[in-house]
């Protein structure tokens, strides 16, 4: 089995989020919190100390009516590959509590290994990492509704989006029992993907030409996975983080908002 596993082609799970379709409803955020036992406080108004593995940002183009336009950007963990798996957070964690899985391309977080130094949070430019400032306290009776597949986190450790890795494990278990070593595209989908009513989030293996994410984003392996689709972009492409979340938009100002540019630099396309 080990040999067979070795021979299976490495996956690179990633996402394409169509910003022209996203309505900012927040269903992805709610689904993510329920699926992953994300703790919450009575007052969640301070976004600097509340945990949202998936966070929806709202943007405007800063123009007045009738040119005014807005856009919502859902932001999960980007599961950066950077150069050969040395993601910004992975390379700095002093205790290997976060790791890059070369079989799936997923950046893991090992809660029982993390000792809460928060260096990974300092390293992540996407603010995708969250610290448990408090112990999780669930409203009476809600413990019964927690997912048994995801361990709740204790105070003092960092957590983040895992691309619902437990779903991958469950799907792989099922496949193994059925004598398969490969998953079908629909067998492993994240909760946010399934919850999005607009179908704006697409999830799959970026290495697999049969998967929608590959067909839409058209990642260019010769250029660090940069999208060849002219409407696709990645957040902060220029930093070299090589993220696995791609965004789509037909609007240039939205694509331009994905990265930093010196005035008048790189107008008309950002790749």
């Amino acid at each position: 089995m080990k040999e067979q596993h070795k021979n299976t082609k490495a996956k690179k799970y990633g996402m394409v989020i169509d910003l022209d379709k996203c309505t900012g409803c927040g269903a992805c955020m709610a689904a993510c919190m329920a699926e992953n036992n994300v703790p919450f406080k009575k007052d969640e108004s301070n976004k600097l100390d509340s945990i949202t593995w998936m966070r929806v940002y709202s943007l405007t183009n800063g123009k007045k009516f009738p040119e005014a336009d807005m856009c919502y950007i859902p932001r999960p963990c980007m599961h950066c590959e950077a150069h050969n798996g040395h993601a910004p957070c992975v390379s700095v964690c002093p205790a290997v509590a976060t790791d890059y899985n070369h079989e799936t391309g997923i950046v893991s977080q090992i809660y029982t290994r993390c000792f809460g130094c928060r260096y990974c949070m300092a390293a992540c430019p996407y603010h995708a990492r969250y610290f448990n400032w408090w112990d999780p306290v669930w409203p009476d009776g809600m413990e019964k509704y927690l997912s048994p597949n995801v361990s709740p986190r204790m105070r003092g450790v960092v957590e983040k989006c895992s691309f619902c890795f437990h779903r991958y494990q469950l799907a792989m278990n099922k496949a193994y029992v059925e004598g398969r070593r490969e998953l079908e595209e629909d067998e492993y989908q994240t909760s946010c993907t399934q919850a999005c009513p607009a179908g704006a989030i697409i999830f799959g293996d970026l290495n697999n030409p049969g998967h929608a994410v590959n067909q839409i984003a058209k990642p260019d392996p010769k250029h660090g996975g940069r999208p060849m689709n002219p409407h696709a972009f990645r957040l902060l492409e220029r930093l070299g983080t090589n993220p696995k979340v791609y965004y789509l938009s037909s609007r240039e100002w939205v694509r331009r908002a994905g990265d930093n540019y010196i005035k008048d630099e790189g107008k008309q396309g950002n790749h």
Binding site: S91, C117, H127, F131, D259
Partner: protein, 412 residues
């Protein structure tokens, strides 16, 4: 009351006065201990840190005290390896200040981590790619070296020295101190550097990121350099404060002048290197990430270009000029102003490389998050200062920290 413990031939204040001040500073220490216990038992929700400021005032304090404690390794290097013999008259105090700074740094780190009981994971599950791993290993080893360097001082207490075993142990430890000084300098080079590397490797944070050589960003070398420059400045500054409080001269002028001159040249060369680094970063690195220099110094209520001017010009160029010129060094006012500014410069640099790194927005749709520490953070940051004052008070009273004190007192 405690005269039997006081070194021979020197004067100390009355025991009552000594205890009074110990109680006063001890009260501040207890306040810090209370805040520390709150953080340990209730968690880091006692602080004003948040998900934007994962690193905050504690990490700054940590980096600052380690830089200021750099006087120990650099003075040791000059005294034992480069043979600057005059510095034997200030090395004890440099070691004591270093010991205080490094023990404080370790204490702050123990408070700062979210799961203190798992602190040992950094050694057990070490990630060799992480600068923080290098910091943890070198810091702990160097603290052990400083402890070894401090022990002979304790053994020189009048009563302890009467025990033949301790007397011989102290004598023999002095004999091999050059080995520890060399080890300390080696370890310090790496942990001071890796502390610089902590920020410099953050390629997701253009404000902090620097290119470099092999695995080491330029900040690696700059931090070591600045510690070697500002550490002796801090040693001179604290010696001056101690002299003011005790109302007597403790170290001869030629010793201070020599250390000030060396510190001045270190500071001057560091400042030149820092200017080159800043220029390259502003002209090449930052634009390649889509930023301009002023993006980092505008549109926020605190971080203006003034902080860069303060760090490089006021706390770099100005004290360098004072310290490398004989006239500057010989004016007491200018000398003390320069060493104060030199030490302040390292603190500002560490502040910028921790707090401003967290504050600068990287995604285009974010704004500058601001932060002010909670009283628990302030109290725990003051805690090491109170602890340091108490340790200096006790060491000064009972140990022959200043070898020239008796001689100066007799002349006086």
């Amino acid at each position: 009351m405690d005269s039997a413990l006081i070194p021979e031939g020197v004067k100390r204040c009355s025991f009552g006065k000594f205890i009074f001040w110990i109680i006063v500073v001890g009260a501040v220490l207890l306040w810090g201990v209370f805040a520390m216990l709150l953080c340990w038992f209730k968690g880091l929700n006692q602080t004003n840190m948040n998900d934007a400021y994962g690193f905050a005032v504690w990490i700054w304090a940590d980096l600052a005290v380690i830089a200021l404690g750099g006087g120990a390794f650099f003075t040791g290097l000059l005294r034992y390896i480069f043979g600057k013999d005059e510095l034997k008259n200030i090395i004890n105090y440099a070691v004591l200040i270093g010991f205080i700074c490094y023990s404080s740094a370790l204490l702050i780190l123990a408070i700062d981590i979210g799961q203190p009981l798992r602190g040992w994971f950094i050694f057990w599950h070490a990630n060799v790619h992480s600068m923080l791993t290098e910091v943890a290993f070198c810091l702990s080893c160097y603290f052990a070296v400083l402890t070894i360097e401090y022990i002979p001082l304790i053994l020189e207490n009048r009563q302890v020295d009467k025990v033949p075993f301790f007397h011989n142990l102290s004598h023999n430890m002095h004999g091999i101190m050059a080995i520890f000084a060399a080890t300390g300098a080696f370890l310090s080079f790496f942990h001071q550097g890796s502390l610089g590397g902590v920020a410099g490797v953050l390629f997701g944070r253009p404000f902090a990121y620097r290119e470099g050589v092999f695995i080491w960003p330029w900040t690696f070398f700059l931090f070591t350099w600045s510690a070697a420059a500002c550490g002796p400045c801090f040693t001179i500054f604290i010696t001056w404060i101690t002299e003011k409080i005790t109302r007597k001269k403790l170290v001869k002028k030629n010793v201070i002048m020599l250390l000030a001159k060396i510190a001045g040249w270190m500071l001057a060369t560091y400042t030149i290197a820092k200017i080159i680094d800043t220029w390259y970063w502003a002209a090449v690195t930052v634009p390649s990430k889509g930023f301009t220099l002023m993006d980092f110094y505008s549109n926020n209520p605190l971080y203006g270009i003034w902080i860069l001017v303060l760090e490089i010009v006021i706390c770099g160029v100005v004290p360098s000029i004072i310290l490398i010129t004989k006239k500057g060094r010989e004016s007491s006012f200018l000398l003390i102003s320069a060493v104060f500014l030199g030490a302040l410069g390292a603190c500002v640099n560490r502040w910028v490389m921790v707090l401003q790194v967290m504050a600068v927005p990287v995604m285009t749709f974010e704004s500058w998050p601001m932060y002010f520490p909670s009283w628990q953070e302030i109290a725990t940051t003051i805690l090491p200062v109170a602890y340091g004052i108490i340790l200096i008070m006790i060491s000064y009273r009972y140990l022959p920290i200043f070898p020239q004190e008796r001689e100066i007192e007799q002349i006086g």
